[in-house]
Subunit: 610 residues, 2 copies
């Protein structure tokens, strides 16, 4: 029960993970100094062949699937390429938790043989490597979710989604790193260390599905599955400039995961969703359609019956709504601007966008937090304390054991929830009673922030409580002009709003050069996450600037931290109308990025790195 | 706070209700002695004109709708006819809780004028009178659910379903009587008295939506809406020989009801469904389709998005499963026989029926009961004790205040629920992996029992916990031959099974003639439910034979009580596949009753009475 125990487990886990990367896939030595954008190191290394670089840089699932179907590529070639690139991603961003490279390549080989033998593929996912958040059980592998006491306990059966993906011919080759407790917005834990943002190591990779985000942004995966209860798919998607969709909770099978919560408690509060991150909007449709076609309700009793075609659609002349602020935190200028640019682009293209004022929305921030806390965090502390594992610093000031909610309190929460849900139905009609096809709003009130500085999840968690499908769509990079903007002129709305403004205020307290050297040091320790180092070295450093409430230096050192990050918007549709959401996102994407840019995120991403 | 208070309220409520029946609609005097089957009194009275008798005897919603659309009938004529017949039903079975006859006829008149003016109806429900369980809020009317402290408190707004029905052109003309607390299987309370079974006053009308069942069986309604959490739609449907469908909980808007529970607590356990009772299977489709077409998810956030066409379908050569017993109570012979006859009819018609053995099913009986008890009944006692209202005798030995479940207990219940749900998915495939299109099983392990003798709800409550759509289908009357059968030969499975057998065992302890005279007396007091009489006279009588655990005379006095009751089967489909359920039921109905008998229950019912 000593603190050595969890460090020893972490040490073993890291060694095992490291041992599963073939020697000739190692980047050795790492360049010194490391660039802020580590994606550039992919093309500079000799690990990938030119073909493998091309396979992993130039395609989304849709195009890879076409190439496998037309026999221009084998699954084995595709899988090998992604395994190698995932290995690189792991070394540079610390994004993996479980490695299945060898069995994955064997499976890809078998799928190729099956296709050759039968002349039939299993569908659009046949032969496609898909990465999964560590939470999903794969028989024979841990679902440790970054907690030492859960390690060395291989799953006895597959999650329902895993079974479906395998039936559909997908190739599972890795699981990805998460935040401790899954309730932090940086993917950092003592077992695997911290996930870094590949395009800009100074900012967060997001959480809790941060390993997925970083892996895909590195080109190490073309489609990843995460889970989202506060924004845990959409936040890392925004941080890594990806498309994402968090469906309603009854769409994608969720059962068979380790989520670090008291079993059954999820049924008393709000339901998390499994969701996806992708590099193109069309892949979102491909995936959601493939899952719907697989009769997922026959594997997971919580999944709603319904075909993809039965999941709604936008009108012939869609009407959009825009919700510019949640009433708790006023979006900082770059966020407000990119939302406005999106609205203007839609209007210029001939679409009407009406302003949505939803007074009920501001109540979701505290309601979601109340729901997250119903268990009083006791199960979390129980599994950590089993072997004396401490909280990560960001959580250390935020998480306490509390008395669990009783039946009266739980009932009252649900009354509040039901009342607000009813009120929120009104956002789907404009003043003239016309149907709003989709809602556009920020993903967060700030750009991708520095490590450990994500400020509240009201813009994302509300749509979990509402169970609305919601997605993120990358719009453009932060520009130098964005950095010159003033703070919002409106009055400060409260503590959340004040801390949000801190993300744009400049301070000269700590010289920039010192900050950067901290970052560089931190990377080297957390990039190779020897747990003792994580504990002894990284945490104090992070603590000195990561937590506004503790550090005493809440302001930004340098707004250029935001350069080379993406600004995104969130798109939302009514509950269980995932197809309507997808169609709205596809339309907005086309208007923003052009009709030919179905593969836009990936193409944009790598054109800036090449 | 004295016991006088609730009696005074009940007295006022009864007088108000009585005053809303026009004088010339009163059956005065009532025949003495009353027949056991009071339906015969409808045609003998002069309240209905021959046309009105025909309108209310010869049609289902489908045919009435056609006649209104073709202008062969006006809504006013139809509504007036059903109001009058509902008034008769009320006098003979005590089935109503609120009367809206006058505004209903005015509304029907306005709907006729609208149709005349616009040339358009609002859809298939245009002008159709629909009755609702007392739970549904109608602005300006009580939802007292038979509890005195909830009376004289008119609803401030309509239930979501009420708004939809009004939009669709339905005419709401009455609300119907329920069981105290909604958790008893006889519809009996101190505010309105007891609902009697119109076809056989010796047996129960069922509950908790018993008023609906009796009203429809009397011909006083052609379509009624109830709610079902343990079987509260299906049980009165069986008792009154009706078709019914309890959909999954997310199909028909449920919000805006008084259900006598702690607000919000329903979200912590299992969700009740709103469901319908009808006189033909085709009306079930008509209604469910009309609701789906009305975009109910825009009125009630809990309703799942999805068109009627998106709610599943049976295969071209459907495969049926039969589950003959739940492992807790072995069906008595008439129930087993009618199930077997149904299976044989299907096989004879060329359909395959496979035996389903679902060991998980037997665990649902106690699981459902655990869920029903999570609040410890405290809210129920609170609203009763507010003015000193006692429990009805049947509940008095069954309901106690208990400590509410805590978060750990609630979570554990949901773990049990999830585990069983996963196991139960297996019933939808046979041993060869073929899809089972629908499941056939008993509604209850006994025929329609004597008053206050319903024995457990395991066969119906399981499908609430599972959230599967389930319906009842009347097959045939109990025959004289059925009464000669022996008890099940299998061993007694436990207390539930033992009490179930008591319903067939003969005892001569109380002479039949005495029983009948009690019945006659009880009818006269509860048919005109002066509350003091209900309390002082009826209850002791009921007590002497109604409660096996208290009476000391658990056995049946006379098996002939079962004559002139219907035997039904239950049909079940997977969650959210209401159309698949309907199609299976329609097919079974056609095989049992012939292709031309779309209106079979109604026709059968009145042909035996005329």
């Amino acid at each position: 029960m000593s603190s050595q125990t969890y460090l020893a487990i972490a040490h073993r886990k890291f060694k095992t993970l490291q041992s599963l990367i073939p020697k000739d896939w190692l980047l050795d030595p790492l360049p010194d100094p490391l660039p802020l954008d580590v994606r550039s190191l992919v093309s500079k290394s000799t690990v990938l062949t030119p073909d493998e670089f091309s396979i992993t840089s130039s395609h989304d699932v849709t195009s890879l699937s076409q190439l496998i179907h037309s026999r221009a590529l084998t699954s084995e070639a595709v899988t090998t390429a992604f395994c190698k690139r995932a290995a690189i991603a792991q070394q540079l961003t610390n994004c993996l938790s479980e490695i299945l490279f060898l069995p994955a390549i064997e499976r890809a080989h078998a799928l190729d043989a099956e296709y050759k033998r039968t002349g039939k593929t299993r569908g659009p996912l046949h032969g496609i490597p898909i990465s999964l958040k560590d939470t999903f059980n794969i028989k024979g592998y841990d679902s440790s979710i970054g907690i030492a006491s859960l390690a060395a306990n291989p799953a006895k059966e597959n999650a329902a989604l895993v079974d479906i993906l395998l039936e559909q011919g997908a190739v599972l080759y890795c699981k990805t790193n998460v935040s401790q407790t899954l309730m932090a917005l940086d993917s950092h834990n003592h077992l695997f260390g911290r996930v870094l943002n590949p395009r800009n190591r100074r900012v967060t990779a997001g959480g809790s599905s941060g390993g997925e985000g970083a892996l895909i942004a590195m080109g190490g995966s073309v489609l990843g599955i995460g889970t989202d209860i506060g924004g845990s798919v959409r936040i890392p998607a925004m941080c890594n400039g990806l498309y994402s969709i968090k469906p309603s909770s009854q769409r994608i099978p969720f059962i068979g995961q380790e989520i670090g919560q008291l079993p059954g408690i999820d049924k008393l509060g709000v339901q998390a969703s499994a969701g996806l991150m992708a590099t193109s909007i069309r892949d979102c449709e491909l995936f959601l359609k493939a899952i719907a076609n697989a009769n997922p309700w026959e594997k997971d009793p919580n999944v709603a019956f319904g075909s993809w075609e039965g999941q709604g659609e936008i009108g012939r002349k869609p009407l959009f709504g825009v919700m510019r602020a949640d009433g708790i935190t006023t979006p900082l200028s770059p966020v407000a601007k990119v939302l406005d640019e999106t609205v203007e682009a839609l209007r210029k293209a001939g679409f009407e966008v009406v302003e949505i004022n939803a007074p009920a929305f501001k109540k979701y921030h505290s309601l979601a937090n109340s729901f997250f806390g119903i268990g009083g965090n006791n199960h979390t502390f129980d599994i950590l304390e089993r072997i004396g594992e401490p909280l990560i610093p960001w959580l250390n000031t935020r998480l306490r054991r509390k008395r669990p909610a009783d039946l009266m309190q739980l009932s009252e929460l649900h009354v509040r929830k039901s009342t607000l849900e009813k009120e929120m139905l009104e956002i789907w009609r404009d003043e003239d009673g016309r149907r709003i096809d989709a809602l556009i709003c920020p993903v967060a009130p700030h750009p991708v922030p520095e490590i450990d500085r994500w400020n509240g999840v009201g813009y994302t968690s509300a749509f979990v409580v509402l169970d609305y499908p919601a997605g993120t769509l990358p719009v453009r990079d932060v520009s130098n002009d964005d950095l010159k903007d003033e703070l919002p002129e409106s009055e400060v709305l409260g503590g959340w709003d004040s801390r949000n403004r801190d993300l744009c205020k400049l301070s000269t307290f700590i010289p920039l050069v010192l900050c950067l050297s901290y970052h560089s040091y931190m990377f080297q320790t957390s990039g190779y996450p020897f747990p003792s180092s994580v504990e002894a070295v990284v945490n104090p450093i992070l603590k000195c600037y990561a937590d506004p409430s503790e550090s005493g230096h809440p302001n930004l050192k340098d707004r250029t931290v935001y350069l080379n990050t993406k600004l995104s918007v969130q798109v939302v549709a009514p509950r269980l109308q995932e197809r309507r959401l997808y169609q709205a996102m596809a339309l907005i994407d086309e208007i923003l990025h052009g009709a030919s840019s179905e593969n836009s995120a990936r193409i944009q991403s790598w054109s800036t790195v090449a």
